[in-house]
């Protein structure tokens, strides 16, 4: 266990150095050591941000090269971009311009433009799946099953709301239906999430595998329901009946759009902040975090490990299911098979956010921009939009290796002159996962 290094008996920091009369230069050395550690601790949040930012920049830089390389591999009439006298078929600046600015549309002229609406709606769902994954991560469980939980949440809420929608109407109807729908989505997603939780807690089944398998099962099952018993008879598509307009999330600010709701985004942000509070400010959250980073200590502290795993997976599934319900009430308007990979994207969101629910809002915005922008890239340039997928992978890769950035940082770090080893610096490495 590398976290023990700093205090290991012979690594030097313990023992006699605490003795008042050690009499050598040790106290000052020790003080400096603590100073350095203090700074490190204080810096960890900033550092996290720096690492995420650097990961993003580095990925963009590699993507830049990739675009150039792709531009050499294809052929075209005239160079779209030239560098050092070499022509390239794709212009990386144009691509990034389309990707990042395209996602905001003509924001200055009309902040409520359609492309920005897409960005908002994608971001909203990603906040939910992002915090879903983050909650599980915090409890030390890796929930790859967000997709399945989202699919079931979406399907259930679409069905239930359609079933109830005959009974109510108008603004009251909207209130009732949206709340019922959200509750249903959360409930069903929660159940579906609790299954791998229980399998892990009571049968020791690796959750990475069970959640992946359950994704396949959920997708197939949803296909069966949406193509069979609950199929919209009017449509060729495997989908449930379209929900009436009043059953959808109100979208006061995007006239003419049914898919983007700032209210839904506000709900997502509220939930994210709420989850952050839950984790930090409640006994349950304390249990979750403790069992996530140090299960033995949690057990010592009276945390019921099995129950916490199940509870946090249920919560995680509920959040993903909530995301599914929001997807239905904003983007889709019904349940249709072929739900986009929000669940998987949630993993990247959570990783980029360092599993912090509030930071997940920013990370979700980034991936919302990427998703929305990739469409602009596809339409506006010749560069295959799969590029965005590569960027996503690279970002995750770099975020996974904070040590890389620390090592770069160390090169210019004076503190390091004190000693030659990087062991001590690593003590807070990989704390979350």
């Amino acid at each position: 266990m590398r976290r023990r290094q700093m205090t290991d008996d012979d690594a030097g920091a313990g023992g006699p150095l605490d003795d008042g009369d050690a009499g050598s230069s040790a106290p000052s050395v020790r003080d400096r050591a603590f100073d350095a550690l203090d700074r490190l601790v204080a810096a960890s949040a900033t550092e996290r941000l720096l690492i995420s930012g650097s990961a993003l920049l580095l990925s963009i830089a590699i993507g830049f090269l990739l675009i150039l390389a792709a531009g050499r591999m294809t052929s075209c009439g005239s160079a779209a971009y030239s560098l050092l006298g070499v022509g390239f078929c794709y212009d990386p600046f144009l691509v990034y311009d389309s990707l990042f600015l395209g996602a905001f549309g003509d924001f200055l002229a009309n902040p409520l433009n359609g492309q920005f609406a897409t960005t908002v709606s994608e971001t909203t769902v990603l906040v939910f799946t992002g915090i879903a994954v983050a909650v599980a991560f915090k409890a030390g469980v890796f929930n790859i099953g967000g997709q399945g939980q989202l699919v079931f949440g979406a399907l259930a809420s679409a069905l239930v709301v359609y079933g109830v929608s005959g009974a109510v109407s108008g603004l009251v109807g909207t209130l009732v239906l949206v709340s019922v729908g959200l509750a249903t989505g959360a409930f069903v997603g929660g159940i579906w999430g609790a299954i791998p939780g229980a399998l892990k807690a009571y049968a020791d089944a690796n959750e990475v595998i069970t959640t992946i398998m359950l994704n396949f099962v959920a997708t197939s099952f949803a296909l069966y329901l949406a193509s069979g018993p609950f199929k919209d008879p009017e449509s060729f598509a495997n989908q449930t009946r379209t929900l009436p307009e009043f059953a959808l999330f109100p979208q006061p600010l995007f006239p003419g759009r049914t898919d983007a709701s700032l209210l839904a985004l506000a709900l997502a942000i509220t939930v994210a902040v709420g989850i952050a509070y839950l984790l930090r400010g409640t006994s349950f959250g304390y249990d979750v975090r403790t069992s996530g980073i140090q299960p033995e200590a949690a057990e010592y502290g009276g945390v019921d490990a099995a129950r916490t795993v199940v509870a946090s997976m249920a919560l995680s599934g509920a959040l993903a299911g909530l995301g599914g319900a929001v997807y239905v009430f904003t983007i889709a308007g019904n349940f249709q098979t072929g739900v986009p990979d929000y669940g998987f994207d949630g993993i990247t969101v959570s990783i980029l956010a360092g599993n912090n629910p509030v930071a997940a809002i920013a990370a979700a915005l980034l991936f919302g921009v990427l998703k929305s922008g990739s469409i602009v890239v596809d339409v506006g340039t010749d560069v295959p939009p799969e590029l965005v997928g590569v960027l996503r992978g690279l970002i995750v890769l770099f975020v996974a290796m904070p040590e890389f950035f620390r090592m770069i940082g160390e090169r210019v770090d004076v503190r390091d002159r004190l000693g030659g080893s990087r062991d001590a610096v690593a003590t807070d490495g990989g704390e979350e996962a």
Binding site: L66, A203, I209, I212, M213, V217, G228, G393, V396
Partner: protein
């Protein structure tokens, strides 16, 4: 030979036996729900069709190779959850190189090369830069998921690509081998053996199926009988013991992860080149096979032979699922029939979840670290 010795490892054998029984029991239970012994008999008949075994063998190839790769990496202490990604890039690489050179064998090498390169990246990130292995593996998957269709679009103009050719059959290989006796006698013998019910499938399989058997045997030998295998084992169980014994842990881990790249590369290229096609839409043609591979080697308790058997179990269920649909044996909607292999995996995992991971799996090791 090696197989018998390996299976004599009681733990593994018992696990697999019970796992197989459980899968059968599960299927039987599902059938009981539909309420007919005719159905049960029909299913059993299908299960012992030669074509089911043939399909299981073919479907096993990419999974088994990836699983072998996963065993090496994880036994050495590096959990390689990026197998899926390695399969994806090698599936594309195989098609790409084949389409340039016109040779599937060069294509196979190309797929292996691409996959090994990506595995190298993974190894550097995990070993040199102490990345969290799970997240890095996930990143490898995501990168491959973007990169392969990206490259395919750049080179072929679409996320789907055709190699134009596929692996020759083993019979053709023999016939073209240029060895007069071998080619004629071999082909005749194969033809005769292929006529055997059920097991005949073993004698008319793709060369990749035979390569899979060879790879399983070789992997078993490497892990259990060579120094390198010992080192891999020690590196995953107690890296410090290996380090203090004078073997560089990081080198062993590099070798093991690269080996996982090579093996997964064979699997991925075999997948695409047996069809002459790369399909890069959505989850790509690999479609979770890398993750299934992880399940199979966990179930096989890190034993290559065990992994092969559990791969065959899964692939067999998948093959069975397809024939159940075709022959309309079950009165269950088709999308649900398709979930049989996945549900079985979950049940089996729940029953035998207690896989003992190598002690140091997932942990970074650096020489000199206390």
């Amino acid at each position: 030979m090696s197989a018998t010795a390996a299976v004599s490892d009681l733990g593994t054998r018992a696990r697999l036996a019970v796992a197989g029984a459980a899968a059968l029991f599960l299927s039987a239970g599902a059938l009981a729900l539909t309420g007919s012994t005719d159905v049960l008999l029909a299913v059993l008949a299908l299960l012992f069709e030669k074509s089911t075994l043939a399909a299981a063998l073919r479907l096993s190839v990419p999974i088994a190779f990836a699983a072998l790769g996963g065993i090496f990496a994880e036994k050495s202490g590096v959990i390689n959850i990026g197998l899926e990604g390695l399969l994806i890039v090698s599936a594309f690489g195989g098609v790409y190189v084949t389409s340039i050179t016109g040779s599937v064998w060069l294509g196979l090498l190309g797929g292996v090369a691409v996959s090994t390169l990506l595995a190298l990246l993974f190894a550097i990130v995990c070993i040199e830069f102490r990345a969290d292995q799970i997240i890095a593996g996930l990143a490898i998957w995501l990168i491959a998921l973007g990169l392969a269709p990206f490259a395919s679009t750049v080179v072929f103009g679409s996320t789907n690509a055709s190699a134009g050719t596929t692996f020759p059959s083993i019979g053709r290989l023999l016939a073209n081998s240029g060895l007069p006796v071998v080619s004629t006698a071999g082909v005749a013998a194969l033809d005769a053996l292929a006529g055997v019910p059920f097991f005949g499938a073993l004698f008319e399989a793709s060369p990749m199926v035979y390569l899979m058997f060879v790879a399983v045997g070789a992997s078993w030998w490497t892990l259990n009988r060579t120094s390198f295998g010992r080192w891999v084992h020690a590196s995953g169980e107690n890296p410090k013991a290996l380090d203090t014994a004078g073997v560089r842990v990081s080198r062993v881990r590099y070798a093991a992860v690269l080996l996982s790249g090579v093996l997964a590369g064979v699997g991925g290229a075999a997948l695409s080149l047996s069809l002459g096609q790369f399909v890069g839409n959505g989850p790509t043609m690999v479609n979770g096979k890398g993750f299934i591979a992880i399940v199979t080697y966990l179930l096989g308790n890190y034993n290559p032979v065990g992994a092969l058997l559990s791969t065959l179990l899964f692939a067999g269920l998948d093959a069975l699922q397809l024939s159940l649909q075709g022959q309309n044996v079950l009165a269950i909607p088709r999308p649900l029939v398709r979930t049989i292999p996945y549900v079985s995996v979950i049940v089996v995992l729940a029953l035998f979840g207690k896989t003992r991971l190598p002690e140091a799996a997932g942990e970074h090791y650096e020489s000199g670290e206390e």
